[in-house]
C-alpha cells in the first residue's frame, strides 16, 4: 500500500469511527432515561477495574506458575477453556430469584459445568500423554 493511500485509509477509518461513536453517544444522551450516562460510566469503569485489576493479575499469576516445559501449551489451553466456560456459565449459576417460567434456565447448570470440566480435563490428559510419550508404536512423524 502506498503511503498516500495508507494515510487516506487511516483518515477514513478515523472519520467513520468518530461518526459511529458519536451516533452511539447521541443515542445515549437523547434516547435514554436521565441519569443513564452517569450510571453507565460507573458500570463501565467498574467493568474495567474488575478486568484490569482482578482478572488479568490472576491470569498473569497463573501464567508465571505454568511450567516452561512440554506441557505448557496443554496447561494453558485447559485453564483458558475452563476459565472461559466458567465465566460464560456464571450468569446461569448465579442469577438470583426464580426464573420467569420453567423453560428459562431449565438445565442443571452445576452438573453441566462439571461435565464440561471433566471433558476438558480428559482432553488435556490425552494431549499431555501424547506430548510426554509421543508416537509409541504409532506412525512416526
Amino acid at each position: 500500500m502506498s503511503p498516500i493511500s495508507m494515510t487516506l485509509s487511516r483518515l477514513l477509518l478515523g472519520a467513520l469511527g468518530v461518526a459511529a461513536a458519536a451516533f452511539g453517544v447521541a443515542h445515549l444522551l437523547t434516547e435514554t432515561r436521565t441519569g443513564t450516562v452517569t450510571q453507565l460510566v460507573v458500570w463501565a469503569a467498574g467493568a474495567v477495574v474488575l478486568h484490569d485489576g482482578v482478572l488479568v493479575p490472576l491470569v498473569l499469576a497463573a501464567g508465571l506458575l505454568l511450567t516452561r516445559g512440554r506441557l505448557r501449551g496443554v496447561w494453558r489451553a485447559a485453564l483458558l477453556t475452563l476459565g472461559t466456560v466458567t465465566l460464560v456459565a456464571l450468569p446461569a449459576l448465579l442469577r438470583p430469584g426464580r426464573p420467569a417460567n420453567p423453560s428459562v434456565l431449565p438445565l442443571d447448570y452445576p452438573m453441566g459445568l462439571a461435565v464440561v470440566a471433566a471433558a476438558v480435563v480428559a482432553g488435556a490428559a490425552v494431549a499431555a500423554g501424547r506430548r510426554l510419550w509421543p508416537a509409541r508404536g504409532g506412525r512416526q512423524p
Binding site: M6, S9, R10, L13, G14, L16, G17, V18, A19, A20, A21, F23, G24, V25, H27, L28, E31, T32, G35, T36, Q39, L40, W43, A44, A45, A47, V48, H51, D52, V56, V59, L60, G63, R72, G73, R76, A77, A78, L80, T81, T84, V85, V88, A89, P91, A92, R95, P96, A100, N101, S103, V104, L105, P106, L107, Y109, L113, V116, V120, G123
Partner: protein, 397 residues
C-alpha cells in the same frame, strides 16, 4: 528527577504486535458479526420510517440465523476479548502515560473501546438469562454501546493500521523478526536470535490452539439453544429447545402477561378495515385453515422451529376489504409487560405464511403460547409474534 514508582515489567513474549494482530483479527470478526446482526435485530424490531413497507419477510429463518449468530459470536468473543486484552495488557503501563495530545486521544479511544466492549458482553450475557442488575434500560444502552464500540474500533484500526499491516503476515523464515520493529512496541525480552524466534512462534501457535479450543468449547456447549443439531451438547445455554410446553420454550407466560381468564372466555377477534368485522373462536375455526412451519426466534438467542395452523392474516384482511394487505396494529389481551400493541408491516400481512395461529404442533395453543390466537410470521423477532391477539387495527397510509 527519577520517579520511585515504576511500571511493572512483563517477561512474557506473547504480549507482542504479531499476537495482538492475529487475535485482534479474530475478535474483529466476532465484533463485526455481533454489530451487524444486532443492527438487523434493531431494524426489524423498531423499523425507522424509511424501512416501513420494505421489511423483508424472507428468508423465513432470517432472524433465527442472525440473532442466533449474534449470541453465538458474542459468547465466542468472550475468550477472544480476554486473550486480546491479556496480550496488550503491558500497554496499560506505558511510561510516560501520556506523550502528547494525539497520544492522549488514542489512549482515551482505547479506554472507551475496552470499557464498552467488556460491559457490552457482560450485559448481553446477563440478558440471555433475563438478569438485569444495572439501573439503566438494557435495550437502548446495549444498542448505543454497539455503535460506540464499532466507532472506537474503527478509530483503533486507523491508529494502528501501519502496525497491523506490518504484522498481518507471518515474517518469512529467517527474516528479521518484525516484533522488534520501530514502534517501540516489542516487549522486554523480545526475541534476539532465530532459534529464539522459533520458540516464540511455537509458543504463539500453542496459545492460538488453546484459544481455538476455548472458543470451540464455549460455542459447542451453548449454541444448541438455536442450532438444533447441537441441542444434545447444549449443557450451559439458558434455554433448551426441547424444554417448554408443546415442544416450544416460553418467554412470557399468560399469568406474567396478566391475561384475564374472563377476557379469554368472552374473546372475540375484531378486524378493522373498510368492512371491519368480529369473529368468535368457532367462526375463526370455520374459516380455511393453513399450515406453516416457522421458527420462534427470541432476541435472547434461542430459537425453535414449530408447526403452526391457523387463518392467514391476508385472508382476514381480504375479508375486511383489504385485498392488498395493510400495515397492522396488533393488540393483545395482555395487561402487563411491553409489546401489548405491536405493528406489522404490509410485507408480512400480505405473506402467505403469516398466520393468526390457533394450533401449535398439532394441539390447540396452550395459554402460555397465546390461546386463543397468536401471530406467527416469517423472519421476525419473537417479541413481535404477539400472543393472545384480540384486535387487528389498520394503520392508515
Amino acid at each position: 528527577m527519577q520517579s520511585r514508582i515504576r511500571p511493572p515489567s512483563f517477561s512474557g513474549r506473547l504480549h507482542d504486535v504479531r499476537t495482538a494482530t492475529i487475535v485482534g483479527r479474530l475478535l474483529g470478526i466476532a465484533v463485526a458479526i455481533c454489530f451487524l446482526t444486532g443492527l438487523v435485530s434493531h431494524l426489524l424490531q423498531e423499523p425507522p420510517g424509511w424501512l416501513i413497507g420494505h421489511l423483508p419477510a424472507r428468508p423465513v429463518s432470517g432472524y433465527r440465523i442472525t440473532q442466533g449468530l449474534h449470541v453465538i459470536s458474542g459468547i465466542a468473543a468472550v475468550p477472544l476479548l480476554l486473550v486480546k486484552l491479556w496480550t496488550v495488557y503491558p500497554r496499560l503501563f506505558e511510561w510516560p502515560p501520556v506523550r502528547g495530545v494525539g497520544h492522549a486521544l488514542e489512549r482515551l479511544s482505547i479506554a472507551v473501546l475496552v470499557a464498552a466492549t467488556i460491559l457490552e458482553l457482560f450485559m448481553g450475557l446477563l440478558n440471555t438469562v433475563q438478569w438485569y442488575p444495572w439501573p439503566f434500560s438494557f435495550r437502548s444502552v446495549h444498542y448505543a454501546l454497539g455503535w460506540v464500540i464499532i466507532g472506537s474500533l474503527l478509530v483503533h484500526l486507523g491508529v494502528k493500521a501501519p502496525q497491523i499491516a506490518a504484522h498481518w503476515r507471518r515474517p518469512r523464515q529467517g527474516a528479521a523478526p518484525k516484533a522488534a520493529a520501530p514502534q517501540g512496541a516489542a516487549p522486554q525480552g523480545a526475541a534476539t536470535g532465530a532459534d529464539d524466534e522459533q520458540l516464540v512462534r511455537a509458543d504463539r501457535r500453542s496459545l492460538l490452539v488453546g484459544l481455538g479450543v476455548a472458543v470451540g468449547t464455549v460455542t459447542v456447549v451453548t449454541a444448541g439453544q438455536s442450532v438444533t443439531p447441537l441441542a444434545k451438547l447444549n449443557l450451559l445455554a439458558p434455554r433448551h429447545p426441547d424444554n417448554g410446553e408443546q415442544g416450544l420454550p416460553v418467554n412470557r407466560t399468560a399469568s406474567a402477561a396478566g391475561v384475564d381468564l374472563k377476557a379469554v372466555r368472552s374473546w372475540r377477534l375484531s378486524v378493522g378495515g373498510p368492512q371491519g368485522y368480529e369473529l368468535t373462536l368457532d367462526q375463526l375455526r370455520a374459516l380455511p385453515q393453513h399450515k406453516a412451519t416457522l421458527p420462534i426466534a427470541c432476541v435472547e438467542g434461542w430459537s425453535k422451529s414449530a408447526h403452526w395452523e391457523g387463518v392467514r392474516i391476508k385472508d382476514l384482511l381480504e375479508r375486511a376489504g383489504l385485498p392488498d394487505g395493510a400495515r397492522l396494529r396488533v393488540v393483545s389481551l395482555q395487561t402487563r409487560g411491553g409489546y401489548r400493541v405491536t405493528e406489522m408491516d404490509r410485507t408480512y400481512t400480505r405473506d402467505d405464511l403469516t398466520l393468526l395461529a390457533l394450533r401449535l404442533n398439532g394441539e390447540v395453543l396452550s395459554p402460555d403460547h397465546g390461546y386463543p390466537a397468536r401471530i406467527i410470521a416469517p423472519n421476525r423477532p419473537g417479541v413481535l409474534q404477539t400472543k393472545w391477539v384480540t384486535r387487528l387495527e389498520v394503520i392508515p397510509g
